[in-house]
Amino acid sequence: MNRPRVRSLMEAGVVLLIGATILFLIPSQVEKPLGVESRTPPSFLPRVISVCLLLTGGGMLLRALSRPSLSPPVPPAKEGLARILLSVGLLALYAFLFPRLGFVVSSFLAMGGFAYLFGARSRAKILLSMVLVPLGAWLFFEVLFTIPLPRGVLF
């Protein structure tokens, strides 16, 4: 089987799976209103959405079987994939440290990491961006607009 067809089948499968999962979750995840009989209960719209998703997935499946995707997939290069995974990892770490170290310190570290990952090598410029960007954002949000940002142990 050619790769565009496999990809189209996979895409249809994901849409079908999402539709089926929503339908499967409705009895346990949608609360029933007590003592109220209605033709449009809280589960009404999710049910309609899941059925529509199943129909759309079915349509995509039929299309994939009859006519595969015209554009072949472009997988990221190994180097690119590694950078994406590193970026996602750094982003997750940043989100984890954000409430613990505070906005300024965690952003200071994240800015340096991301800038290096994106190809910056000048130490002076990286350091300057690590200081200016978090501090600028902090001044804008917290000082100018009095919107509190999380504070950590240091700042």
Partner: protein, 505 residues
């Protein structure tokens, strides 16, 4: 009306009022351009300040923020594929591809001209025939609102490009995401998965920032890097034609601008709708009527004009039910009612009789504000375009830092930051598998109006769906929806036919 014009002009033309409008526009543009900060937030923050101002100055300041913020969202959308406001999500569809072709200057100028003209015409209509429009808007019951939402959803067919089924799937997913949390009618839990934070539903800011900004960040991360070298974010053409909108281009798009203005005005006049809906519907209508629909989504100037004119015309439209009936259409106009009340002005038909000079002074402020908007935005354009000369290695990390702060500030919740990261990865995967992102946002925005109007209509109709087809306005929207869907297939089929015949020859 004319008896109020002279005293209103005397009341408005003071340095204080001119500074208030200019300041409001400036703040609005900056707030609108920063992902995570939004216009209702800025209006709410500036509200206490207006209590100590004259009513005309206070209202002018907030209306300036409203207008500036609605336009400002397009700046970051065009330059870095990250709409600063939901209303700019439709502008991104063609604005960013234009910037990728080195035409950021032209796209930003089109966005300014479209916004200002849309606002100007909407303001003139507000001043002259507000009462008549408000009467028509009052005829919109749940049946009509439901059909309007169906019509708005039908634009998914148009904005999905060649991926109709994928667009529908993304739109349905957007609808589903908004159903999570408490049911709006019975307040029963839906898909909260035992997570307390999900009781309030999936918040909009982390979703918008995630699927646009974080996914773009990951897309940029995938690109090859050249360590130590300065890489520009996007190319910037030095050709004058790529940086300005010529008179010929403006004339060619005039019909689109006028059509989008009236769509924005009409949608704005309906309480509960908003500028994002107007932008998408205007965009869909422009593509359907265009002689070059194949250019949409690939950097069409017409697409930028349509989306921007449509979303800014809403500002004038939203003031119609506010001033004539005292009905706020959205969060911003609800805050504006507060300002009116604080100054002893009670919105409604009497307002025009009892405080005509103040109302018409605000109207003059709207018109003057449009001229100032043109100047302030044009001056800022040179500065914004300089963003593109910042090295990619510093710009995108800085955008992520600002986005993270923006996602947090919505509800001051770390959970929202995690959601933003998850939606970022999700948005990246959607892009990789050619699922259009705009329908997801469209579905999310439309779900509350869809669900409440559907349930209300069915209760009113005693579970019958017949009134959707027998009430004239409702039927008109349903027919338009059908036309949109059928029409969106037609040019593609024709193009495929041309391609096939070309290929075989």
């Amino acid at each position: 009306m004319f008896e109020f014009l002279l005293p209103a002009a005397q009341l408005f033309f003071t340095l204080k009022n001119l500074l208030a409008v200019s300041g409001g526009l400036f703040i609005g543009i900056i707030i609108g351009a920063i992902p995570g900060l939004n216009v209702p937030m800025a209006v709410a923050l500036l509200l206490p300040m207006t209590f100590y101002m004259e009513p005309v100055a206070g209202l002018s300041l907030l209306i300036g923020v409203y207008k500036g913020g609605t336009y400002g969202g397009s700046i970051s959308g065009i330059l870095i594929n990250t709409p600063g406001a939901p209303a700019a999500a439709a502008t991104v569809l063609d604005g960013y591809p234009m910037a990728q072709q080195g035409k950021a200057g032209k796209a930003l100028r089109a966005s300014i001209y479209g916004s200002v003209i849309g606002e100007f015409i909407a303001d003139v209509v507000l001043i002259t025939v507000a009462a008549q429009i408000a009467t028509v808007a009052l005829k919109f019951g749940p049946n009509e609102k439901f059909s309007l939402v169906v019509f708005a959803l039908s634009t998914i067919a148009v904005i999905s490009g060649g991926n109709f089924l994928k667009g529908v799937a993304a739109g349905l997913l957007g609808l589903f995401l908004k159903t999570m949390g408490l049911d709006p009618i019975t307040s029963c839990d839906r898909f909260t998965l035992g997570v307390f934070e999900l009781k309030g539903g999936i918040p909009f800011l982390p979703l918008l920032i995630g699927v646009f900004a974080v996914s773009e960040f990951l897309t940029q991360a995938e690109k090859k890097v050249f360590p130590g070298q300065k890489e520009q974010v996007l190319p910037l053409s030095r050709n004058k034609e790529d940086n300005y909108v010529s008179w010929k281009e403006f004339r060619e798009n005039l019909r689109t601008i006028l059509r989008s203005t009236f769509i924005g005005l009409g949608i704005g006049a309906l309480p509960g709708s908003g500028s994002a809906i107007a932008a998408f519907v205007s965009y869909g209508a422009a593509k359907n009527a265009s002689r070059h629909p194949e250019g949409f989504g690939r950097g069409s100037l017409e697409g930028v004009f349509a989306a921007e004119t449509g979303n800014n015309a809403v500002c004038g439209g939203a003031l119609i039910p506010l001033l004539t009936l005292g009905i706020p259409g959205d969060a911003i106009t609800a805050i504006l009612i507060g300002v009116l009340l604080v100054h002893g002005l009670i919105p409604g038909p009497d307002l025009f009789v009892k405080s005509g000079d103040i109302v018409y002074a605000v109207f003059i402020g709207l018109i003057v504000g449009n001229i100032l908007h043109l100047f302030i935005a044009s001056l800022g354009l040179r500065l914004f375009i300089k963003l593109l000369s910042v090295s990619r290695a510093f710009l995108f990390p800085a955008v992520i830092v600002i986005c993270l702060a923006g996602a947090y500030t919505g509800d001051s919740s770390v959970f929202d930051v995690y959601l933003m990261a998850v939606f970022g990865v999700f948005g990246y995967l959607m892009k990789k598998f050619d699922f259009p992102v705009a329908p997801l946002i469209m579905g999310y925005i439309l779900e509350p109006l869809l669900e409440t109007s559907l349930v209300q209509a069915l209760i009113l109709n005693k579970d019958s769906v017949l009134p959707f087809f027998t009430r004239p306005i409702s039927l008109l929207f349903l027919l338009l929806a059908g036309f949109f869907i059928i029409r969106s297939f037609y040019p593609r089929r024709r193009l495929e036919g041309v391609a096939r015949s070309g290929g075989s020859s």
